[in-house]
Amino acid sequence: MLDSGLGELQAALAARRVSSVELTQLYLGRIRDLNGPLNAFITVDEKTSLEQARRADERRARGAVGPLTGIPVAHKDIFCTRQLRTTCGSKMLEHYTSPYDAHVVEQFERAGAVQLGKTNMDEFAMGSSNETSYFGPVRNPWDRNRVPGGSSGGSAVAVAARMAPVATGTDTGGSIRQPAALTGVCGLKPTYGLVSRYGMVAFASSLDQGGPMARSAADLALLLNVMAGHDARDSTSLPRAKEDYTRGLALPLNGLRIGLPREYFGEGVEPGVRDCVRAALGWFEKQGARTVPVELPNAALAVPVYYVLAPAEASSNLSRFDGVRYGHRAKEFADLADMYCRTRAEGFGAEVKRRILVGTYVLSHGYYDAYYLKAQKVRRLIARDFAAAFAQCDLIMGPTTPGTAFALGAKMDDPVQMYLNDIFTIPAPLAGLPALSVPCGFDAQGLPVGLQMMGNHFAEAMLLGAAHQYQRATDWHQRVPKEAPL
């Protein structure tokens, strides 16, 4: 049962082979067994989860059944929940319980799902290894001495280690796709504006986007059906008609044009990653897909552009943490200004402070044009590259990350080395494009490799279809991590 996808779980619940209470107990037991070593969850409240499960069983008995009735879901601890605290991986919000639910959380509740807990993450979603969490690093179930990626590392590990059937994540520069790749699961970052950011703690508002994480693309499609949709409370939420993202799962691959950007296959990509991705592309070609070379000449600038824009937006968004309305407040201070300075010095970790300082710098008098406006202009160049590429192909494919999971602590002393890990995931959100990562093999050390697929705006159904077809022919996503045996 722990190994089941959403379709099997729905069928088992519908046939009364299992109740939601039993299913929730099964996952809670798994969390009890594995969370000590893996640290994937920050908050689990068994009583609340089981109460929700009991109510789901009651609704089912009455015949009031939604798409996810009784199915346990783990939420990244960036989504506000009234019933469980929301820490965002920070000391600043260690004791914070939100007075309202995020739109995404409401959508899951409407669909009938059960909240299994809140997953660990890099502090305020700033990190690529889950090591910046105030609640300690998450460990990779394929090798506990390695990172799971970040910032949605807790959600990725919860799904990989079968501590949750599915989870939510958020992606600003790769925070869904990179941990998905490093832990051997699937993750989708939707088109900007598809999923409401209401109640999602803000990091970089022009880039932040919530999305699903699961072991299969078919499950991602079911989850996106629940998550996507217009919400007037987020002014960037797009007023579009609801789509059924499962409709394209039977995508015919014959004739599909797959763009291969030269920039994604150069030096700097580990041989183990390159070989797996090449093999996956070979499979698509055998199905009749055609690979075409495309160019993203400004892709290499995506990392510097991102590290201007994301910190600039973060420095503004995180100014709300002042120790007045919610969150941590310093115990000792001389006056109001000192209270702000000490509250923020104590409440934020080193990486968050660094990004606030970088953002403050690029927005400050005399530097705004040179950094912030300049980065916005280069952002447009990157978006134009994608538009030109999509005139020649239907999808773009390449590695999700240049390497597999790295050792804990390996990149913590050099922020730039850490940032470069996201070199292949940052371009898509800058252009607002949807992108997913799907497992495509293992390197010589037995660590998972992710194949990234990027699509044009609103091409989610096509991405999911291509990934689903690949998963029908491969079993990478069904492998069980060595350090989390069933």
């Binding site: 400004n298 552009v305 006056d335 606030i356 300082l357 970088v358 950094y371 300049k374 916005q376 202009k377």
Partner: protein, 95 residues
């Protein structure tokens, strides 16, 4: 590009983040690495390019100018560090 101690002090004051003398060396050194990374942008020719502030070319939707929220002050203040009589408490700013 390298931050002087004065520039770092100005920055931490603007950002309202206290940085101790002990930490300032490490903070400056790592900030300088990031500033070195973003300095790459200076070499790019962006003549005639419009800045892009939103991922999709959409206009800001406006809502009707009507009251839609009800008063939830006590709910919101329940999570505040210090309140009294419906007000948020901060250190005295006027003697």
């Amino acid at each position: 590009m390298s931050l002087s101690p004065d520039q770092l002090r100005r920055l931490t004051r603007l950002a309202r983040i206290a940085v101790s003398e002990d930490e300032s060396g490490t903070v400056a050194e790592r900030l300088n690495r990031v500033l070195g990374l973003i300095d790459q942008l200076q070499a790019v020719d962006t003549g005639g390019i419009e800045p892009m502030s939103h991922a999709l070319d959409v206009v800001q939707p406006l809502r009707a100018d009507t009251v839609t929220e009800n008063d939830q002050r006590s709910l919101f203040q329940a999570v505040a560090p210090a309140v009294a009589d419906g007000l948020y408490l901060v250190p005295r700013v006027i003697e």
